[in-house]
């Protein structure tokens, strides 16, 4: 006698009994709510993370860049040329362009020089 043959026989007879006494209902796939979007937690989290990342990148790269008007360009040029003038006023003949000091430093220096007198 095979191992557990008695138990196998019981279940074989149970299968036979079920086969004759139980009506298996026809398979029907329920319609469900398949036409509706189902938002799963992971989908929502992924979407939120993507939006945050996008906003973060936009802030980092300062996008969208506002188009500068031609007036701003002119203003910038003017400011630059003024700065240049100031530089030329305070830079001594000995100093080269690489030894450039900011106008404020030079002013302090001048002030200190005055006190020595």
């Amino acid at each position: 006698m095979k191992k557990d043959q008695d138990i196998k026989d019981i279940f074989e007879r149970l299968k036979e009994q079920d086969g004759t006494e139980i009506d298996i209902p026809k398979f029907e796939m329920p319609a469900g709510k398949s036409n509706r979007f189902v938002f799963h937690k992971t989908t929502v989290f992924t979407a939120a993370a993507s939006i945050l990342l996008l906003v973060g990148l936009m802030m980092y790269f300062e996008w969208p860049v506002t188009k500068e008007s031609p007036e701003d360009d002119i203003l910038l040029t003017v400011t630059f040329s003024l700065g240049e003038e100031e530089e030329t006023e305070y830079i001594s003949e000995e100093t080269s362009i690489s030894d450039w000091e900011s106008p404020s430093d030079i002013l302090i220096q001048e002030f200190e020089d005055d006190t020595n007198f």
Binding site: L14, Q17, P25, F27, M29, P30, G32, V38
Partner: protein, 158 residues
Amino acid sequence: MKKDALSSLLDKHHKDAFLWALQCCRYQEEDAKDVLQMVYLKIVEGKARYKEKSVFKTWLFSVIRFTAMDFLKKNPKFQVLEGIQVSQEAYSEENEINYRKLLLQLPTRQQQVLLLAFYHDMTLAEIAETTQLSIGTVRTHYERGKKALRELIPNKVT
């Protein structure tokens, strides 16, 4: 998994699924139908998703078992006391054995483990996955269940 593929898989396992639902509902046919509909709806709506990590049948049986347990909890009128002595009813006047009633005398875990092993031809590992138990625990229920069943029918089955 696409809906068509899922539908054909469910159709393929429908008979086994219904029988398992019936066994989980202690052979209450209407409850088994309700449970199976709930299971199919869960799958269609994506509340229960097959991730192809295990055999489809194992996964489906696991969903059925959990749904049936939930159903029985919500409908306590259907719960039957375990170990109730119905051995007299298990035999008809012609001394034929009613195997279903005989099986219902076993504790639920032992019943389910034996049914999955001998009725649905699952391995112990598959049973462990379906019942969410360790293989060791499954083996214990398996051995105890066989012993208990033998005691219920000492000389009736040849």
